[in-house]
């Protein structure tokens, strides 16, 4: 519905190429002419095998990496011309979970999300009452308000992840970028996290881009899916159009079958570990071309 009305685009990524180091040193490009749009209020999933450039793409969206060519626009403004603080007020990145080194409390972690909003560096930048309100709301949205005095080093992986997302929400961003948010979570926490994100998307019109390996979770939650393969964008569209066996055969190089989820009607992927003999019959049943 709102995926292509130009002005409402949260992100316009136009012909982005990226490589580490110089071409002279033979650095293989990680992204090759990637072009797509993220509409405001959309939830977009970025799928693709390891090393396909998903995380690189996310870092470019957060301006942690700068592409050699191509343009990235956020709500019509070129990312390259914006100050770090302005970017941080618009876009919040939730990186992959890393083990905490220092014993900050949950509240201290979430408060750090207010950094881009605090202009007064002179007086040590103590947080204002407004900052505390935003932080409290962020902690409640991620259900960590009751853990505010607990240390990051002492809580579970799921709680830590929610605290990191709460920190991102405390930035009051318009776009939330998540890098494999569910990778260390059990099933219940995966579902809980995704429901919370959907709620934020519905209530605050928060645009969300999520990199994940969990095809089924992405299929359930996302409005649109972008599939990366060897640095190129190979397919984008709604889950029903993108999640096809032949595409996953090409991208992941393994055989999957796709059916529909009994409740949501969204496509659902299952992998088959069958022997060659049965697999060939399976392929002939499900695949057009084979491989």
């Amino acid at each position: 519905m709102n995926q292509t009305n130009g002005s409402a685009a949260a992100y316009e990524i136009q012909g982005v190429c990226f490589r580490y180091g110089s071409p002279a040193k033979g650095g293989e490009p990680l992204l090759k002419h990637v072009t797509f749009t993220i509409g405001e209020g959309e939830i977009v999933g970025i799928l693709g095998p390891n090393g396909s450039g998903k995380t690189t793409l996310l870092k470019i969206l957060a301006h942690l990496l700068v592409p050699q060519s191509g343009r990235v626009l956020v709500f019509g403004r070129e990312l390259h011309g914006m100050s770090r603080r302005d970017i941080a007020k618009t876009v919040a990145l939730v990186p992959q979970d890393a083990a905490p080194v220092f014993p900050f409390s949950i509240a201290e972690i979430v408060l750090m999300g207010r950094f881009p909003h605090q202009r007064d560096q002179r007086r040590f930048g103590w947080e204002s009452a407004h900052d505390w309100d935003v932080v409290q709301q962020a902690m409640e949205a991620m259900d960590v308000a009751h853990l505010r005095d607990r240390l990051m080093t002492d809580v579970s992986g799921g709680e830590r992840q929610r605290a990191i997302i709460a920190r991102a929400l405390a930035q009051e961003p318009r776009v939330l970028l998540l890098d494999e948010p569910t990778v260390f979570l059990d099933l219940r926490h995966q579902v809980d996290l995704m429901q919370r994100l959907q709620r934020l998307n519905a209530e605050q019109r928060l645009t969300i881009a999520v990199v994940s390996h969990d095809i089924n979770l992405v299929s359930q939650v996302c409005d649109r899916i972008v599939v990366m393969h060897q640095g190129r964008l190979v397919r984008e569209g709604p889950p029903e159009e993108v999640i096809r066996p032949e595409l996953f055969e090409l991208v992941y190089g393994c055989h999957v079958s796709v059916d529909t989820h009994p409740h949501s009607g969204r496509p659902q992927v299952s992998v088959s570990f069958t022997e060659e003999r049965t697999r060939s019959s399976f392929i002939s049943t499900y695949y057009r071309g084979g491989g």
């Binding site: 870092k59 957060a62 301006h63 942690l64 100050s83 770090r84 603080r85 970017i87 941080a88 007020k89 876009v91 919040a92 990145l93 990186p95 890393a98 083990a99 905490p100 080194v101 220092f102 014993p103 900050f104 409390s105 509240a107 201290e108 972690i109 408060l111 750090m112 999300g113 950094f115 881009p116 605090q118 560096q121 040590f124 930048g125 103590w126 947080e127 204002s128 009452a129 900052d131 505390w132 309100d133 409290q136 409640e140 308000a145 005095d149 930035q171």
Partner: protein
Amino acid sequence: MSERVKNGLSMASSPVQPLSRTCAQAEAQATERAPRRHQPTPWVGPTRWALWMVVLLVLSVLVGFFCLRFGTKAISFSELVPLVIPGLRSVWETNTVDPITSTIVWQVRVPRIVLAFLVGGSLATVGGALQALLRNPLADPYVIGVSSGAALGAAVAILFGVGGSIGGLSTLPLCAFVGALGSLAIVYVLASRHSGLSMYTLLLAGVVLNAILSAVIMFLTSIAEPSRAFGMYAWLMGNLTGPDPATLGTLTVYVAIGIGMMVAQARALNLLALGEEVARSLGVDVERVKKGIFVSAALLTGAVVAFSGMIGFVGLIVPHMIRLAVSADHRLLLPASCFVGGMFLMVADTVARTVVSPGEIPVGVITAIVGGPIFLYLLVQRSRRSAL
């Protein structure tokens, strides 16, 4: 019969259940809303900060005063109080102040204790800031070789008598500053190369750098005149004797600038402690903050090493204690480390000059005996945790 009982039970419980649920909901809502009413919460913020600072300042003064008592000649409090606070002489009913005692206190002990405070405070603050910058809770200017770099710079200045002074400033701290900056740069490049392994790579790089720099210093000492070489040895082990007021004044200026620069970056350091990319994505100008911390760390280490030699592990233990006892927030951590580090070294130095009185042990020996085992304990604990 049993049917009826079941029925009765279910009938009895059915109207109760929704009621109790609403009660629980109301309670949950109330507890959820309660903290929102008293915003901002007082436990992080300027009030708590100021309270800690006052407490630590008072404590530092008391500890310093207590340390004045000890030494080759023990001075009782009844002598000490009227000496230090002239206003209390009438209260204490002693109008006569022993001139020798007065000289010992004012010419020897007070400068020494002030020096110990400045040195300890600087080392602890540098330790705290480097730990955040390198994301390594075991970093310490001594352990990672920054102190050795400063010592080499200072040794070159002492042995070759470089310059003397440039524009009124002694070249000794300047040479030590250059040495500290150089070794910090080497260690940082080594550590950031292998970002995944940085924790142990960093410590290993520090150990090797220490070994190389010590070898160079030893070489310089062995080719120097014997009288100078002896002085070098005494200084290298950590020595807080006999600073004159001018020296103390210079050091105070260096320390104030260095600690000021660090504390000004405290909020950015909080974010840097979570990782460089996180800090950048939250709007921190990472390169600028890093440069500021590098320069101030080298400034403080250089100044401190030039005046007092190699004193290790203060920068490791103190920030660690503060994180456990107070907070990991660098706005509080850095100044608190400064006070506690100062107190720690005042006490360590008092021990150093009393246990074998009238002789004295280099204070670096005391801090290493106390700090070394703590370092090893933390190292084992960390590696065990990461192995799990």
